[in-house]
């Protein structure tokens, strides 16, 4: 391998890449768009049900049910309670009559008023009604004789789930990497289509030099963008080395896919035709991480599962080398196999 030649070829490939207006635009606008998407997603999650309460009498049951996930805030007057509900400060407002305790304890069924803002969904109204009825049961001292055994499955975040933007972060980083499949495939496809690759091989550059140069160009684009994105959005705050290593392996995976598509495709339209299904398939595991339970367990058969799962666990939960080494080995295995197939197919095409 001739490093000087490889360097020149990388420069040439990057210049060719950015000369294509479509991909240059996708590259620059892509990062900006992903940053915008990330920033408009909610950064916090409202994990408590905040209910306003106007009650002329003190009711101890409310303190009993005022636990994690549920919060009662007292309003001095019913009018203020109504206004707070309209302003969206509470999901609902409960107005209790002065004789509610006495009537409950007497075994009667007193009426209470619950205010909802117009934008509260029927699901939430039903949930609030359930909460209120349970309060009534507690006040009247009705018990249930159930022996509950409770088990928390998976990583226990104590009722405070990841904000949507952090959950989507691995998906966005992986998408940035995956889109580069098209860029690299176009670089290769255009060389083959125009037969400039044959011209290159007449120079002192060898086939290995050409492959390595294309690989480096692809990696610098895919890895560079994803690493930049993760750095800006705080994805490197926890376990940066693990995240960067994983992104690098992800970039290698994309290079391998790009070699394969570039070898098979005839022109730019054909590159897009092949790339879109490949990218969609490789993105499915990211959807499984971003939207838990949406995809079945077969996603583990896809190489990108090990990429996105590692980024998710390392960047969101601080998983270290000892937690993710199996994922990284699987990912490396997929990369080696795909890259080997890609190089073989490409060599045949060049011949």
């Amino acid at each position: 391998m001739n490093p000087r030649l490889v360097g020149t070829l990388v420069q040439k490939d990057l210049a060719v890449f950015f000369r294509n207006r479509l991909f240059a635009m996708i590259t620059i606008l892509g990062i900006i768009a992903y940053l915008v998407i990330y920033s408009v997603m909610p950064g916090t999650i409202d994990y408590t049900l905040e209910i306003g309460l106007y009650s002329p009498v003190s009711i101890p049951a409310f303190e009993e049910l005022d636990q994690e996930g549920l919060e009662f805030v007292t309003a001095p007057t019913e009018e203020q309670l109504r206004q707070a509900v309209i302003d969206g400060r509470f999901i609902a407002g409960i107005s209790l009559p002065a004789d509610v305790m006495a009537r409950l304890l007497a075994g009667e069924r007193p009426g209470i008023t619950v205010f909802f803002a117009a934008d509260v969904t029927p699901e939430m109204r039903d949930a609030v009604a359930m909460v209120i009825q349970e309060l009534g049961h507690i006040v009247t001292g009705q018990t249930l004789d159930i022996e509950v055994s409770e088990e928390v499955l998976g990583l226990d975040l104590g009722g405070m789930p990841l904000p949507p933007r952090d959950r989507l972060r691995p998906l966005l980083a992986v998408m940035l990497i995956m889109v580069e499949t098209m860029g690299l495939a176009t670089l290769i496809s255009s060389e083959l289509e125009r037969r400039t690759i044959n011209a290159l091989l007449v120079t002192p550059a060898t086939v290995a030099d050409v492959f390595i140069a294309k690989g480096i160009a692809g990696i610098s684009l895919a890895f560079g963008q994803a690493a930049l994105f993760m750095a800006i959005v705080g994805g490197l705050d926890k376990q940066p080395l693990v995240v960067l290593t994983t992104l690098f392996l992800g970039a290698l995976l994309v290079i391998a896919a790009g070699f394969l598509i570039g070898a098979v495709a005839k022109d730019m339209l054909s590159v897009l035709a092949w790339s879109i299904p490949v990218i969609i398939i490789l993105l499915i595991p990211s959807i499984a991480v971003a939207f838990p339970g949406s995809v079945a367990g077969w996603v583990e058969a896809l190489p990108s599962y090990y990429l996105v799962d590692t980024i998710h666990r390392a960047s969101n939960f601080g998983a270290g080398w000892s937690d993710v080494w199996q994922n990284l080995i699987m990912l490396l295995g997929f990369v080696v196999v795909l890259a080997w197939v890609g190089v073989v197919v490409l060599r045949r095409r060049m011949q």
């Binding site: 294509n20 207006r21 479509l22 635009m25 606008l29 409202d46 994990y47 408590t48 049900l49 636990q67 996930g69 549920l70 509900v85 309209i86 069924r109 009426g111 008023t113 619950v114 205010f115 909802f116 803002a117 117009a118 699901e123 939430m124 039903d126 949930a127 359930m130 909460v131 209120i132 009825q133 309060l135 009534g136 006040v139 249930l144 004789d145 159930i146 022996e147 509950v148 055994s149 409770e150 088990e151 499955l153 998976g154 975040l157 405070m160 990841l162 949507p164 730019m268 339209l269 897009l272 035709a273 879109i276 969609i280 959807i287 971003a290 939207f291 838990p292 339970g293 949406s294 367990g297």
Partner: protein, 355 residues
């Protein structure tokens, strides 16, 4: 113009088309967009906590839970399935009801119940699920609800759920991805490969070629729009009326595609124009998504007259009387576009002679 020649050209477009990336683009993209949108707004921002149940008897709790709006319920066959579902986040909570659950509860006997909680579920979901299940158990135990609740709605704002707000955007994307890109890329490819000139040496006229490409665009556009409406269960009470509006929208999309095909040199330019022009096409959908934007702005965009009848029919269930004015405007816009395409045919002759 010859119907037989148009038929032959139509066959060529249809049977050679599937190898073209556009077919992937127009079929895969709308479905993928719809899928992702439903995931984002059906999962990430869903307000209903999810409860999985393994019912070893035939408990009333399962039936009552299904009827409750507060939670979403799914039943599992085995405890292992339920554990897997909770562990993967498919359910926020799982409950195993023993075979004699109802009888034990009604007789006041102590009964063991296993509950699984997804570690990443929110405390809000846990509270709602816990309280809802307890309420339902109390019903089985014969405990009457102690309070009479009078719900009062304050304010006038009626919220449109996000999945409904996004539907117009998804429908427009489906209609225009297929209807516009297919004729446009088809003509551009013919020009790039100089096959259009070759084609016009045969008895086929430019009119035949354009009509064939336009019909394929319209058919694909209509199909994509219908698939999206089917996927989103948004056909409403007047499906034929909806198909008519979609068809008129498809004509607009195909007309724009034909015009672009004539005007543009290569596919890269088409994509670059799409990036900017897309904003103009999808403008009314963004106005619909964000009610803070004055509604009259939407009327400035030609696609408003496709979108508004679709929204009216699919989401508000209205009939012909309400949408007729917008449909007439759409017909006029389509006729203008057809006229523009006819003018472009002259240009096509020039292109052919130069090609």
């Amino acid at each position: 113009m010859s119907l037989r020649r148009i038929g032959v050209l139509l066959g060529k477009e249809l049977f050679q088309g599937p190898r073209n990336f556009i077919f992937v683009f127009v079929i895969v993209a709308p479905v993928a967009i719809s899928f992702v949108m439903s995931l984002i707004f059906g999962t990430l921002f869903a307000e209903q906590p999810r409860l999985g149940i393994v019912d070893e008897g035939r408990s009333q709790l399962t039936t009552s839970a299904r009827e409750t709006a507060a939670i979403a319920v799914r039943e599992y066959r085995s405890i292992a399935d339920l554990r897997r579902a909770v562990e993967s986040g498919s359910e926020d909570m799982g409950i195993v009801l023993p075979a004699d659950f109802d009888s034990s509860m009604s007789q006041g006997e102590r009964i063991p119940v296993s509950i699984f909680i997804w570690g990443e579920s929110s405390s809000r979901s846990r509270t709602i699920l816990g309280v809802t299940v307890i309420n339902l158990v109390r019903e089985i135990a014969g405990q009457e609800p102690p309070l009479e609740i009078d719900s009062i709605t304050l304010g006038e704002e009626v919220t449109v759920p996000w999945n409904e707000r996004l539907l117009p955007l998804i429908v427009l994307m489906a209609v225009f991805l297929g209807g516009m890109f297919l004729p446009a890329t088809s003509i551009i490819s013919e020009k790039e490969n100089h096959t259009l000139a070759a084609l016009l040496v045969t008895p086929a006229t430019p009119e035949d070629v354009f009509v064939a490409k336009g019909i394929v665009g319209i058919a694909l556009s209509l199909l994509s729009g219908m698939v999206i409406l089917l996927l989103n269960q948004a056909f409403g009470a007047h499906p034929l009326l909806l198909i008519l509006v979609l068809a008129l929208g498809a004509v607009m999309a195909a007309g724009l595609g034909l015009l672009m095909g004539v005007a543009l040199k290569d596919v890269t330019t088409l994509f670059a124009i799409w990036k900017l022009g897309g904003i103009l096409l999808f403008g009314p959908a963004f106005v619909y998504m964000f009610p803070q934007i004055p509604a009259w702005i939407g009327r400035l965009f030609p696609t408003y007259y496709i979108l508004q009848p679709i929204v009216e029919i699919s989401q508000r269930g209205v009939g012909w009387e309400t949408i007729s004015t917008n449909v007439f405007v759409l017909v006029v816009l389509d006729l203008l576009l057809v006229g523009a395409v006819a003018l472009a045919l002259r240009r096509a002759r020039r292109v052919a002679s130069l090609g």
